[in-house]
């Protein structure tokens, strides 16, 4: 907590210093947008250093955790400087709109990522205890599928039919083969699981004792698969925000360079 308070204080002081510099620059009858523009560029470049650190994982360039902290706090400075640079107003031209949109996208995805990385692992731990590695989820899913397949096969009668196998083919096979109910998992709802469980409970009333025993085991596997899908969805979310954040960042860099070129090409007078 002391660290967070200290970092926040430093961030606020940096923002205040930038604000004061812009005012000072403006008082000297110079166009402050050149100053805050270049400060914005500098801060964005500094944030990119974290990306470079990640690309060099074994380098002795300090701890990535420290770099990430710097990246985040500089992010807050970037937002403030961006607001100074745009004078708290909406864009006017197409290029400005594109820049503005990309900046908002980068910031929003970054904040979402920050929230997810700080909250999701803890929630997963609370809900599931032991976490399954994202790469291992397909293997675990396949094992569950095989297990339930074997259980159902045991209930099949010599004539090739059973109520359990019919229910499995119609209702559960697809459920076990692929990730399911992703939207429900995103909402944190367990309604789909309750629905399947209640259907199994209905079936249990109609079948003989051995099938009932098999259904009881199948019900446990259904719950295990539901929890696995939850892990898949949430862990997938943890990885996917970067697919927005990073391309948007690259696009923003390209447009920023274009923006600087255009500004200098068409500017005149006091800078």
């Amino acid at each position: 907590m002391v660290g967070i308070a200290r970092n926040t204080l430093v961030t606020v002081l940096v923002i205040a210093a930038v604000y004061w510099s812009i005012g000072f620059y403006s008082d000297a009858l110079r166009d402050p947008r050149f100053l805050d523009g270049w400060i914005l560029t500098a801060v964005m470049v500094a944030q990119l250093l974290f990306h470079i650190r990640k690309k060099l994982p074994a380098s002795p360039l300090g701890r990535a955790a420290t770099w990430l902290k710097m990246h985040v706090y500089l992010g807050y400075v970037t937002i403030a400087v961006f607001l100074f640079h745009t004078s708290f107003s909406m864009p006017e031209t197409t290029l400005e709109w594109a820049l503005w949109g990309l900046f908002v996208l980068v910031v929003a995805s970054g904040l979402v990522g920050l929230y997810l990385t700080n909250s999701v692992p803890g929630k997963l731990q609370q809900q599931h205890g032991e976490q399954i590695t994202f790469d291992q989820i397909p293997t675990v899913r396949l094992n569950l599928f095989r297990e339930v397949d074997a259980l159902v096969l045991e209930t099949v009668t010599p004539d090739g039919s059973s109520e359990v196998s019919d229910f499995y083919v119609n209702r559960l096979r697809g459920y076990f083969r692929k990730p399911q109910h992703l939207r429900a998992h995103l909402r944190g709802s367990r309604r789909p699981l309750e629905r399947i469980s209640s259907e199994i409970a209905d079936l249990e009333r109609r079948v003989n004792a051995p099938d009932r025993k098999a259904l009881s085991s199948i019900r446990k596997l259904v719950t295990a698969k539901f929890d696995l899908d939850h892990q898949y969805t949430v862990q997938g979310l943890l990885h996917s925000w970067l697919f927005v954040h990073i391309p948007a960042t690259y696009s923003l860099i390209v447009l920023s360079i274009l923006h600087v070129a255009v500004v200098y090409a068409f500017s005149s007078g006091v800078r």
């Binding site: 060099l56 074994a58 997810l116 731990q125 032991e130 590695t133 291992q136 862990q235």
Partner: protein, 546 residues
């Protein structure tokens, strides 16, 4: 080296570049140079190694072959350091000519790696290496014991895989020493009863003397009195040096969730008559309490810790018979020194140096959660870990930056798997933990897996690893993998018998890279850390941090 012209029998013909000669033991002799046959004959014909009988050795592992390949003659001039206290090499020495002085004061000559700044020492180690073999005037001034012709030394650390407890210095010019590397010593111990008796006798005698001295319990006692005390103390071993296989067998045999306590050798049962105080000399022991027929851990002891001090103190105070307030079990193996009650009363309880480090985690000071954590750590033998990779799963986002960093530091192949045993939010991953007692190196035929003499990290010498997988199967934590070796073109190398050319691979703490383990530095969320698990407070902090 690729062997040109080798063709695999049968229908498999492989490109010549992918074929390599299968490496064998003794392809490279210890010290890179084989001992001259004159020396070998002299050693065999004299009593240098005691009553060792060459006939005890099998034909394919003759005594002369062992001496030729696993030993070397080391020449030292007067004042030259043979080994320094705190260093981790594990050879046994026999004086052939001249003499050696072994400093009686343990830990006076700390070398790099044994200090509080291991990383700095790791950086400096190339420079410090030069200090070995140098003349050190300070060391020669320490109180020493002189060892003469045919006397043996260094066996305590070789057997217990612990750092040197003292410093050995050559006492004469042209001192010649027979240095027996651990693989050689292991064969001699295995095949020759005479050699084994000699070494174990020395080990027991010296272990008591060194153990009492190192413990600090008798700091103000004069050396002759301490020698008399040592005569009254007894040495005991519980469990086995080679405990890894026993542990693995027991683990395989027991049901999931079944406690392992019951399988561990009992040293003393709670409530039993306690005639001596126990000083742990090497290995680990678990302190337990029994309530309603349920035995559970309340702490663990390691080298230098004592058991039974409070009970003996109370009994002397109230004039009653001491009984063990708690139970004690051996974890893996435990070497202990029994110190009789009257000596405890006379020299320890009345002395100013009484130590309060008996039971590390006494009940009353440990919360229920900590006891569960303790069980997790002891049951899984993680108390052995000096540098375990622990991941906080409430922070880990599964980005795999740690794995990528490891791969980047090791030619594209990561040296660990990001899975492992978990307790609450702590995952002890499958990365080498650089154990206090590294059982993986006991049976290595070439000594390729060894401890870095300076840092104590367990490392593998790729040049001498023959890919036999002995270390991999001995590791109780499955933290050593056998990996195929690839040639410069990326193709997997194949031995001349058609099998894949393998080498053992494990975490080396990024030896040779500055900045410490890359995995820890690469974790952006501060989820991964390398810690000494014996530091339970740090582990508990890690578990409960927000």
């Amino acid at each position: 080296m690729p062997s040109p012209g080798i063709v695999i029998a049968g229908d498999r013909t492989l490109a010549q570049g992918n074929l390599v000669r299968k490496p064998h033991r003794w392809d490279t002799a210890f010290g890179r140079e084989r001992i001259h046959s004159d020396w070998v004959n002299l050693i065999l014909s004299s009593q240098i190694l005691g009553d060792i009988d060459p006939a005890d050795f099998p034909d394919d592992l003759s005594l002369s072959d062992i001496i030729t390949n696993d030993c070397k003659i080391r020449w030292c001039s007067r004042g030259e350091t043979v080994y320094a206290a705190g260093s981790y090499e594990t050879s046994i020495f026999v004086v052939l000519n001249g003499g050696v002085r072994v400093s009686d004061e343990p830990g006076t000559e700390q070398v790099a790696g044994s200090s509080a700044l291991p990383q700095l020492n790791a950086w400096l180690s190339p420079l410090l290496k030069g200090t070995f073999g140098h003349r050190d005037a300070n060391v020669t001034r320490l109180p020493t014991v002189r060892l003469g012709r045919y006397e043996m030394f260094g066996e305590v650390e070789a057997l217990t895989r612990t750092p040197r407890s003292n410093t050995a210095i050559a006492d004469a010019d042209k001192t010649a020493l027979l240095e027996i590397t651990w693989p050689g010593a292991r064969e001699l111990l295995h095949w020759s009863d005479a050699f084994r008796y000699r070494v174990e006798e020395l080990y027991r005698a010296r272990s008591v003397a060194v153990g009492l001295k190192e413990s600090g319990l008798f700091a103000n006692v004069r050396p002759e009195t301490l020698a008399a005390i040592a005569q009254e103390c007894t040495f005991e071993r519980h469990g086995s040096f080679d405990w890894s296989h026993v542990y693995q067998r027991e683990n395989a045999g027991k049901a999931q969730g079944e406690p392992v306590i019951g399988h561990e050798p009992l040293i003393i049962e709670q409530g039993h008559y306690l005639e001596d105080m126990f000083l742990i000399r090497a290995g680990f022991a678990r302190v337990t309490e029994t309530a309603h027929d349920n035995e559970f851990s309340v702490g663990f002891l390691e080298s230098g810790d004592v058991f039974g001090l409070t009970e003996i103190e109370e009994s002397l105070l109230f004039g009653s018979h001491p009984h063990a307030g708690r139970g004690l079990r051996s974890v893996g193996y435990t070497d202990l020194i029994r110190i009789p009650e009257h000596i405890v009363g006379k020299f320890i309880l009345s002395g100013p140096q009484r130590r309060g480090r008996g039971v590390a985690s006494a009940p009353g000071r440990v919360s229920h959660e900590d006891l569960s954590l303790l069980d997790f750590v002891v049951d899984n033998r993680f108390i052995n870990a000096t540098n375990a990779m622990v991941i906080d799963t409430t922070r880990c986002v599964g980005c795999d930056d740690c794995v990528r960093a490891c791969a980047a530091a090791h030619d594209g192949i990561p040296r660990f798997v990001r899975t492992g045993r978990t307790y609450a939010n702590l995952m002890v991953t499958s990365a080498c933990m650089h154990c206090t007692d590294p059982v993986c190196l006991i049976d290595c035929p070439t000594g390729a897996i060894h401890r870095d003499a300076f840092t104590g990290s367990v490392v593998i010498d790729d040049d001498t690893c023959i890919g036999c997988a002995t270390c991999s199967s001995a590791c109780p934590y499955n933290n050593i993998q056998m990996r195929e070796v690839r040639g410069p073109d990326g193709a997997i190398l194949v031995d001349e018998d058609g099998s894949t050319h393998l080498k053992a691979s494990k975490c080396d703490l990024c030896a040779g890279h500055s900045g410490g383990p890359a995995c820890q530095r690469a974790c952006p969320h501060d989820a991964l850390t390398r810690i000494d698990i014996r530091d339970m407070d740090m582990l508990a902090d890690r578990q409960s941090r927000v």
